[in-house]
Amino acid sequence: MKGGVTMQGRRLRARLRGWGGVGAMALVCAVALAFALLLPLTQPRDGGPGTGGSGLARVTQARAEDGCPTPAMRDAPEKQSLSPSGADGKTIEAIKNRTGEKRKLIVGVDQNSYRWGYRDPNSGGTGDLEGFDIDLVHRIAKDILGDENDVQFKAIPTDQRIPAIQDGRVDMVVRTMTINCARMSEVAFSAPYFETGQQVLAPKSAPITGYDGSLAKKKICTATGSTANTKLTGDQEAGSLASSADLKTTVPNQLDCLVRLQLGEVDAVVTDGALAASQAAQDPTVELKGDPFTVEYYGVAMKKDADDLVRRVNQILVDYRQDKADGWQASYDRWLSATLGKDSSTSEPPAPQYLRKS
């Protein structure tokens, strides 16, 4: 019995010794692989735009984060709205059923975007808001409630736009809000009413040439919760924006970035071209650098289940764009031609498509 056990033990050991070489090789391979995988992490992350490995990572991450159910939605989120209709539904009924003083459309707007939604300090102390977005709000109020002044404006910071809608603090948000896939899972958008793209704003004297390598080691300001902020953070993780660019400065409103720029606390601002032009209009020493590096559309945001209101706003937008006397074009000429140029063709979105069915 005892001899048998020894024999078996010896055989086992021999067998193990045979596997030992293979095991050692496997171990070496694993270590080498680990080193190869960890090596990029130990290198200083200063890689220029588009190194292969991180680009791959970006695609997977983008897919995980943007929450787009279909590639079509990611490619053209602005086409994902409901077809226009003038019919009243439960949301519009609820607004119309407000009584007395409260019978008003509650709209979230900006009060700091020059020529979009702002208060002219010299208007005489009434606190009236005005601008391109505000014109549209008055038009919507007139159509739904009959009087263009039946509006209660609520000024909301950039990162409060979606919570304000979800909590029911506002009926809609008309505040230079970009239609994108991630936001679509939280709110419903109308058809686009304006076309723009992200642009870089910097002092004329700065060596910055646009959204490129010249932003390396620069401090860039964005608004918290803005498209620009999401885009820049994503690009930096993906490696297409220099990792030395400092994105730490975020502010409640894009206009606060101009303050930081003027005080020398940041070197550049990234925001929508339409808003960047508004900032440049307030300070002759800064300018837009390079071309827009994205294409985006502004839409009116509403509660996710407010189908009747979305259709109604889309109908209003159709009428608004057709109305040459006091519609989209007139508002553009009044507010934006001074900062964006007389030609509105680059700002007017293409004919809307209504691909959302429910």
């Binding site: 009060q111 010299n122 102390g125 404006f153 000024a155 101009l258």
Partner: protein, 497 residues
């Protein structure tokens, strides 16, 4: 000066003393030969008499201490020696009493002087800096953020606030010890004030051009004030208040060491006189009586003067400082409430806060909290006010506050209904706006603060003057007393010559 050795009326016989001694008594210490001791040839003036016993004959190589101890022991064996020791001890006791009294009362009087002329004015100045900064910010940013161009009156008020704050900072800097935390805070505020002012100036310039970036500058200035400057100013106020309390704590405790020494000195003097009486049957020794009298005067002066000062200082704290603290806090609460009321309109419902399940306007919520603090503060101030002059402005402020709450409710209702322009008029308008109520509350609190400051200054000034001259007087009287003790003993001693 000198008395007869025996009073003309026969004194009551003292125990242990021979009745009616015809000559100066010759006390006989036990175990000593009855002898007159005179300064011997070896004993120079001031030296103890030579040892009377042969055992004390000089030995070779003694330490000075041992020799001194021996001499002392030897001296204690003879009456003149004992008298010398007693005289020295009594003089020492009286001088120590005077010195400790002078030292302890000088300390307390310096602390009381600090309370009156240094720490309380600084604490008030710090409260004023805080108030000026907060008021400047409320005036500059909110009114104009909510309603366009600022008025001439609000501009003037802003400038005055900034001037006040700058002056207060200069004063605080001059009165803070270099390198102390308070000095660092003052330096920070001195650095931030021009920064803040620069931001407001830029905001004004852009505002005149009609650019909304002016509003963005004001938001930035407001943030700097709320997040950096006001916390520092509050910190300074807290520190100055701590200093005030520390000065009170230094000024009020009883000087137990001095009192103890005084009692000891008096007991010593009494014992010496009693001993004198026992030995000589003489009742009064002029020197010792004078010493007792001065020591008694110093002790009485010390106890009474300090008790009065202490009572006055405590009254200045209870009637003045406590009221002032409550009033300052109430004033700051009303300022904060006003700021939040304005910001409610500036933000137009942008910031909300969850209270339970309900979502409420964050600034309006803070306003209500500040108003509750103000209400509590005013109630407390009313309770603390000890006369009608002090109570009246507080009562009026309570009335202003009630009206403010009422008007605020109306303004909120307008805003909730979307009548923004009406709400604005109800808050920053010219007539019937909540701004009027805030101004009245502020003015009434300022009046109450003035009154309480006067009360404080009176009580603390009385307290300080109750201690006036105590240290110097104690020192002089103690020297006189010690001289009296020495002379009195010397008188007895001279009888042995």
């Amino acid at each position: 000066m000198t008395h007869p050795a025996k009073s003309s009326a026969a004194p009551p016989p003292a125990p242990g003393v021979p009745t009616i001694p015809a000559v100066p008594p010759q006390p006989t210490p036990p175990g000593q030969p009855d002898q007159y001791t005179r300064p011997g040839p070896q004993g120079g003036p001031g030296l103890p008499p030579p040892p009377a016993s042969p055992q004390a004959s000089p030995q070779a190589r003694r330490t000075a201490f041992a020799e001194g101890a021996d001499r002392l022991r030897a001296a204690a064996t003879t009456e003149p020696g004992r008298l010398r020791i007693i005289g020295a001890l009594l003089a020492l006791l009286v001088v120590a009493f005077g010195a400790v009294t002078a030292w302890q009362t000088a300390d307390r009087s310096a602390a009381a002087d600090d309370v009156l002329n240094n720490s309380q004015p600084l604490s008030s100045a710090a409260a004023d800096i805080y108030r000026s900064l907060a008021d400047a910010n409320t005036t500059a940013s909110s009114g104009f953020l909510a309603g366009g161009q600022e008025t001439a009156a609000s501009r003037e008020r802003y400038e005055k606030d900034i001037d006040n704050a700058a002056e207060g900072l200069v004063e605080a800097a001059a009165n803070s010890d270099p390198g102390s935390p308070a000095a660092a805070t003052v330096a920070d505020l001195n650095r931030l004030l021009p920064e803040y002012k620069g931001l407001v100036e830029r905001a004004r310039t852009y505002n005149r051009q009609g650019f909304p970036v002016g509003g963005a500058y004001l938001r930035y200035a407001n943030e700097k004030m709320q997040k950096e400057m006001l916390p520092k100013a509050e910190d300074l106020y807290t520190k100055e208040n701590q200093r005030l309390r520390a000065d009170y704590a230094d000024a009020t405790p009883y000087p137990w060491a001095a009192i103890g020494l005084g009692v000891l000195a008096l007991a010593g003097l009494a014992w010496a006189q009693h001993r004198n009486y026992r030995r000589t049957n003489r009742v009064l020794n002029h020197g010792l009586v004078a010493a007792s009298a001065t020591a008694t005067v110093v002790l009485l002066w010390l106890v009474v003067g300090h008790s009065v000062a202490r009572a006055d200082l405590n009254a200045s704290y209870d009637d003045g400082v406590r009221s002032l603290n409550v009033l300052h806090d109430a004033r700051i609460a009303s300022l904060k409430a006003r700021g939040n009321e304005n910001l409610t309109l500036v933000a137009r419902g942008a910031e909300t806060k969850k209270v339970g399940t309900e979502s409420v306007d964050a600034y309006d919520y803070d306003f209500k909290t500040n108003m509750a603090t103000l209400g509590k503060g005013l109630a407390e101030a009313e309770k603390l006010a000890d006369d009608t002059t002090g109570e009246q402005p507080v009562t009026q402020a309570v009335g202003n506050m009630a009206e403010w709450k009422k008007r605020h409710g109306a303004a909120r209702a307008d805003d909730e209904n979307g009548n923004y322009a009406d709400a604005l008029a109800r808050v920053i308008g010219a007539k019937g706006a909540t701004g009027e109520c805030f101004d009245s509350v502020d003015a009434n609190l300022a009046e109450a603060i003035d009154h309480e400051t006067t009360e404080f200054e009176q009580s603390a000034g009385d307290g300080l003057s109750a201690m006036t001259g105590l240290s110097a007087g104690a020192a002089v009287l103690a020297v006189l007393g010690a001289a009296g003790a020495v002379l009195g003993i010397g008188r007895r001693l001279s009888e042995y010559r």
